[in-house]
Symmetry: C2
Subunit: 477 residues, 2 copies
């Protein structure tokens, strides 16, 4: 591919679309768009465009298509696999969707909201809440991540168990295609069997097939009662039994079931302000259980009591505590949500975002622990996550006193070990974070040639010039 972005005249043509105030060429303005959260990906680009609306996005892609200029869409820049970062070749225009930040409409009776790509997730939640409704997607980065990025990465988070991930929360899309045409697919329909499912093709495509500019989001009745519990358990096997019991007794009212190891509690209480050990004595594992009732606080409490009685009868729980106030409930969740950050002061951490069939989570943990500890005997495994979805953030903190860089140099080797076990158990090497740059080559190595060929055919069909976020998910061809 040529590098047409060395041509100042072309840069001017792009800048004319958004106006100069929203076409950054000054390195200082561009810099924040080139590097991601953890500094893992540092790209280069001579131009960041901040279009104001869908038509400007369309004009940008029309020009990009005509001139074969590559484009990287960017939302809140919180992605964890480098999909939102330009590559190093200075050939890509970064298109920031931040100014497409309108909530176009909210239909309380239809329980839908039309939000533009640049709406920050927290603001979408807020808008739903002000209408007495719930937009359930909930992530650690909800204060800065954007709806467009949530869609492009098919975001998961802590409410997937009851409400599904972003794919399940979206009814329709507006998308600018790689040639600048606009697909007006903002349908607010629960049922619509009219041809191929284009919506779900763009969701999770990480910006490689087009730019999502707006979406119809599903809203839900806000729960009237909540219970949040920490339960100490002796093993992941017991946590699995407790999960099935909770699911059986609470059904769709079971809105969260997270698994946490003792070491994670220790790291978090040690390093995160305002987090306390939820139980008086230590336990090998913890389940963080969230129950919601659409009826009342009493109904939520009744479910909780049923669960306690049944779990006690089966000897599943060593100890448990329920949050008694909303502040305590927030604190319970803060412990879980800061677990990844609490690893930082403990040195280097090698991370995995994997899933296996729910019933195989204990087996996965046992096999992975054995393999990792045989490679790095003193590694401190901090495996936690969305047990109810089979999704474990299998993180490994460096041994105490080890050299951080030496430890992190083994990232690829350890990934290989863990992912081999995941694949053996019919699991996924990326449960919710996506592929981006981080796992692109690994994806090609583990997927069947049949599946890779289908993906390449789709990419070719939608983006024959290869200008949309090239080198992400799939290698450029």
């Amino acid at each position: 591919m040529p590098y047409p972005l060395t041509d100042p005249a072309l840069i001017d043509r792009f800048a004319a679309i958004t106006g100069p105030a929203n076409a950054f060429t000054d390195p200082a303005d561009i810099a924040p768009h080139l590097i991601e959260l953890r500094g893992l990906y540092q790209g280069e680009s001579p131009l960041v465009l901040r279009p104001a609306n869908t038509d400007e996005v369309a004009a940008i892609l029309k020009l990009a298509h005509e001139t074969e200029t590559a484009v990287v869409p960017q939302g809140g820049n919180t992605g964890l696999v480098g999909a939102q970062s330009p590559r190093a070749d200075k050939a890509e225009v970064v298109v920031s969707l931040s100014r497409l930040n309108r909530i176009r409409s909210l239909d309380p009776l239809g329980q839908t909201m039309v939000a533009e790509a640049g709406v920050v997730l927290g603001r979408a939640q807020q808008a739903a809440s002000e209408a007495g409704l719930l937009f359930p997607l909930s992530l650690g980065s909800e204060g800065s991540c954007q709806i467009g990025g949530n869609l492009s990465s098919n975001a998961g988070g802590t409410a997937v168990l009851a409400y599904g991930n972003m794919r399940q929360l979206c009814l329709g899309l507006e998308v600018v295609l790689p040639d600048g045409e606009i697909w007006h697919g903002l349908r607010a329909l629960k049922k619509n069997n009219t041809g191929y499912d284009l919506r779900d093709l763009f969701i999770g495509a990480e910006g490689t097939l087009g730019i999502i500019t707006a979406a119809v989001l599903k809203l839900y009745a806000a729960p009237r009662g909540h219970e949040t519990i920490y339960a100490g358990v002796d093993s992941p096997e017991t946590a699995l039994k407790l999960f099935r019991l909770a699911q059986d007794l609470c059904g769709p009212s079971l809105t969260g079931f997270e698994l946490l190891p003792r070491i994670g509690i220790e790291f978090t209480t040690r390093h995160i302000n305002g987090v306390r050990d939820p139980l008086s004595a230590p336990h090998p594992w913890y389940a963080l259980i969230d129950i919601s009732s659409g009826r009342s606080q009493e109904a939520a409490r009744a479910m909780l009591e049923d669960l306690f009685v049944a779990a006690d009868a089966q000897g599943l729980i060593r100890d448990a505590a329920a949050a008694e106030t909303e502040a305590q409930r927030q604190a319970f969740w803060k412990l879980r949500e800061s677990m990844s950050w609490a690893q930082k002061p403990e040195g280097g951490s090698i991370k995995h975002d994997v899933s296996v069939p729910v019933a195989r989570v204990p087996e996965f943990l046992a096999l992975a622990d054995r393999a990792v500890l045989s490679a790095i005997p003193d590694a401190r495994i901090v495996a936690f996550g969305h047990m109810g979805d089979g999704n474990i953030h299998y993180n490994i903190s460096q041994p105490v006193g080890a050299d951080k860089q030496t430890f992190l140099a083994r990232w690829g080797e350890i990934n290989k070990i863990v992912h081999a076990i995941v694949l053996e158990l019919d699991g996924s090497i990326s449960a919710e974070h996506g592929i981006g740059q981080l796992k692109r080559d690994e994806l090609a190595a583990i997927k069947s040639p049949v599946e890779m060929a289908m993906m390449h055919r789709i990419k070719q069909a939608f983006d024959p010039k290869g200008i949309m976020n090239p080198g992400k998910v799939l290698a450029s061809r």
Copy 2:
């Protein structure tokens, strides 16, 4: 396209794959596969193959691909849009999936089942039930329709409100591609963000992109309590208010909300055995409400009582009756499920399977009634369906004493009138039945060129020779 199926040597090559006992060439054996339920589509074919397993399906498509022979996949042959019927040119091999009828596995702890395409829906429900679980898809034709057809048509039915349609009930697929390659995508994962969503592309593609041979289906905890109610209401507006109230009070425990008109009750009680008027006096409209509790019968009853009290306070309900026994519950649902059949003895019926945003259902009914009655003043409108999904089966029985053929000759004209209103309200002309042959040309007329072009590009990418169920969904190119 040539007609290679006049070549007996080619027919012999296909027959050798399944063995002669499962390669029908006798017109009497073939006949049932050529005509659908209502006799609306009558195709022609010299050959029906009944492969025993995925490898035989793959061998059939490999040969079809090599020889450019067209193939029509067929399940239980219950589809309503002609997608499963061969065309009239005798150029297509019918591939019946009926012998791929194994439930390969059922994982009670993981709550998943791997079923082959030819498993009859009722048998899948039964297998789940025997494991103490629920497979929620429920259709009028569940005694004969098959999982493969349910997937290919993205079937809906009466449990969509709480559990979603077939798309939401499937975690993974095994598919034979148009060139005979097998995609092994039978993943039982709740979360898996590794590249483009191929699964949802095959679901709802009506057999035009490949042949689904097996699927991982989601199972649910079986409810422990049920309440089923008929409520008489004065209008669709009131029914909508009642729906929102029920949704607010019951949340995901609201497992059904159907709307029925008085005339539908009259037809059904008149013509269907064992169906009785559920309320003592007639009412303009009826809501059939289903509430399920994962906890207990008492919990379901408590929700029902809350709903009655709140609905009464708002003056929404004219009268109501709750089923007191399981037999009565079945009878309540039988009334609803036989409504379409009850139209038959009343003469010709022009049908629509449309959806609009839920909140616009009353508006749709008012506009459509006015337009249809202005075209056919004595038409008897039997509009019923899944109000909670915005999906109305807007059926029109002929005027009393009218000539059936004269009435049915206006099918296209009336479709046009009704669909224009649907589109005006941002609705769908096929909510759950699909496109097939019936709505193919209409689809091309109403979808944007951008959307049609994307669909054609996908078809071209997956089936460049155009052998998979040609002329369905999209016109052959």
